[in-house]
């Protein structure tokens, strides 16, 4: 007999409000709701609930809510109920625990312990509604020397750049890990916002080539869907070396998700597991990476900036320094809170470092070595709000990547069950009946709203600081103060403690 694992959630239904319309039953792909014909009442199957709130959101009389079970184990500060249940699961199955989305553990957030500055008396603040406020950003290598031709005219020696209307982009999520409609939403929103979305490692669906000017195409260790027209389709090419949610681990799209258009786009046989190896089998050194960077530059005729994405790990500053020297134009760093469609739980929850620390140390290292202008820095891994965004820029980022935030705008409720293919919101699933639940018209509108709202807040915050361009905010650590941090933490972040 299997060890008993008690359901984590309880479906609470108000009998007074329930009108038995059965919307909850029809909308739950997990089968957590049922209808008892003879009694004429709805019933719940708590063990199937993943707490995704699809039923809660659609219930027309708001008769439903989901509660974390109050079922308890005997109190133990070392062995939490959750830890015990996970152990039971493994004892029952012998398997590696799988999870999705970002690390949920209560580890410190440095963003939350950083406070922002504002102008008073001696330096005027700026009203963004009345005065110009520049949020446009260019990503790519910036030349430090001015060269002139024989007649003394300035030579345009600037390499390929990405122009963003605001320093934010949607980070890589492959077609396969998320649905066609989720991709359509991201692509549409990126085009309307004048920013970029990243098609991830699963190739670019033929329908999305038209969004090419707002697309970053990715080359990952599986090389899925990579061919010449693909590389030329995007505005930039990203080499994925690592992912914040699972540094050191590859990817695995199970065969049942790798069907139809997904498989065709990946150029893999239908129904076969699409496996991205943990390393790129042709990259074992910075020199190897340099070869790939230059191969891609050559393949695209030097018209596209090359991004190298790495996960934030212990020695990230030295790694980034190496990447900068490999010829990459942009370095993307993904922090340990970054999301995933599926990762071994223990890896997701224990590997990597916070993005704030990684960013500060990388920015400092590149400055110290005089190569900061050779690359732009893009950071991701849980940028949750406009203030996280502002703080990241002030810590030295040229732009931020968001993905979890973008999925939330599409309806994701962070139930962290992406790996089950049963996403009730039509995001992380390939089941056609579930995919159609995400109408890209609505999805794109929500994404545009979100980024516009953040842009308003960004302008407002910059105005308060007396800063009128993102350029002037970037790396401006004097605008930051820490609270409740140790000397060492402040030193790594390169900021002063509040009060100083």
């Amino acid at each position: 007999m299997d060890l008993y694992v008690h359901p984590r959630f309880e479906v609470l239904r108000s009998e007074k409000k329930c009108i038995c319309c059965r919307v909850c039953e029809r909308q739950c792909a997990n089968g957590a709701h049922g209808y008892d014909e003879s009694a004429g009442t709805m019933e719940s199957y708590d063990e199937k609930c993943v707490n995704c709130h699809r039923c809660v959101a659609l219930c027309p009389t708001k008769a439903l809510k989901i509660a974390e079970t109050s079922h308890s184990f005997r109190q133990n500060a070392n062995w939490s109920g959750h830890t015990i249940q996970e152990l039971y699961l493994q004892a029952n199955t012998g398997g590696v625990l799988l999870s999705s989305m970002g690390n949920p553990r209560p580890l410190p957030s440095y963003f939350d312990r950083i406070l922002l500055n504002a102008s008073q008396v001696t330096n005027p603040s700026i009203d963004p509604l009345r005065e110009p406020m520049e949020t446009r950003t260019f990503l790519g290598k910036k030349n430090q020397t001015v060269t002139r031709d024989t007649r003394g005219r300035l030579k345009d020696n600037m390499g390929a750049q990405l122009e963003l209307r605001a320093p934010i982009m949607f980070s890589a999520m492959s077609l396969g890990s998320i649905s066609y409609n989720a991709h359509a939403s991201l692509a549409n929103a990126a085009r309307e916002l004048g920013i970029f979305y990243n098609c991830g490692e699963g190739g670019l669906h033929k329908d999305f080539y038209k969004y090419g000017p707002n697309t970053i195409v990715q080359v990952a260790s599986g090389r899925f869907g990579v061919h010449q027209p693909y590389l030329m389709a995007g505005a930039a090419v990203e080499i994925k070396m690592g992912q914040g949610a699972k540094p050191g681990i590859g990817g695995h799209l199970p065969g049942h998700k790798n069907m139809g258009q997904i498989a065709a786009t990946r150029m893999t046989p239908e129904g076969s597991d699409a496996i991205s190896p943990a390393p790129h089998h042709d990259i074992y050194s910075i020199e190897d990476l340099r070869q790939l960077v230059y191969s891609l530059k050559e393949a695209t005729g030097n018209t596209k900036p090359i991004i190298v994405k790495i996960a934030a790990v212990h020695n990230v500053a030295a790694i980034a320094s190496g990447v900068a020297r490999s010829g990459a134009d942009i370095i993307a760093i993904d922090g340990f809170r970054g999301g995933t469609g599926a990762a071994p739980t223990r890896i997701r929850d224990n590997v990597g470092i916070p993005i704030e620390l990684a960013l500060a140390s990388v920015d400092q290292k590149l400055r110290d070595e005089g190569i900061r202008s050779d690359v732009s820095l893009v950071v991701g891994g849980s940028i949750r709000s406009s203030t996280d965004w502002v703080k990241a820029i002030a810590l030295g980022a040229d732009a931020c990547y968001i993905a979890t935030g973008a999925l939330l705008a599409l309806g994701c409720h962070l139930c962290r069950s992406c790996h089950t293919n049963l996403c009730n919101w039509g995001i992380a699933t390939q089941r056609p009946d579930l995919v159609r639940r995400l109408n890209p018209e609505i999805g794109a509108e929500h994404l545009v709203n979100l980024i516009k709202a953040w842009q308003h807040e960004l302008r407002e915050i910059m105005g308060g600081m007396g800063i009128n361009s993102v350029e002037a905010l970037r790396g401006n650590r004097l605008m930051l103060r820490g609270v409740g941090m140790t000397r060492e933490e402040l030193d790594i972040l390169g900021i002063k403690h509040a009060g100083l």
Binding site: K16, I19, C21, V23, Q27, L58, R436, R437, N439
Partner: protein, 153 residues
Amino acid sequence: MKRIFAREEWCLACHLCEYHCANANLPHKEGGNFNAEMARNLKGRAIRPRIRVEEDDRVHFALSCRHCDEPACKKSCISGAISMINGVVCIDRDKCVGCYTCILACPYGTIVPSDDGHAAQKCELCMQNSCGEPACVAHCPNRAIVYEEVLDE
């Protein structure tokens, strides 16, 4: 003239439109709690919505009155209860004798008997009820029902 259109590719067959339709055509208190009122209105009641989700394994969409240019229901009505008011096909409850000829005549099957069985009822674009805009459109979670101008002509 604005009309209700079904967008089959986005219909989830959740049937919310039917319940919101039924609710919109029942009495409402001004400023009442919407959810509580809906629960009170529809609890234990078999609904007769003026919009229905047609579904089988392959396709589903919400169907309501098409407000035809030459309505078969209007032609068939023996008591002159059906008329075209500003492009909306309406049934006058006071004139309707409940013979259900219109139900037989409608090629779309979008007319249904009223709750009391004494008259026929159909979608009147929520012009006559408390909603003011088509409730099915307002409450469709996936924009599978839209209220738009007819583009031809």
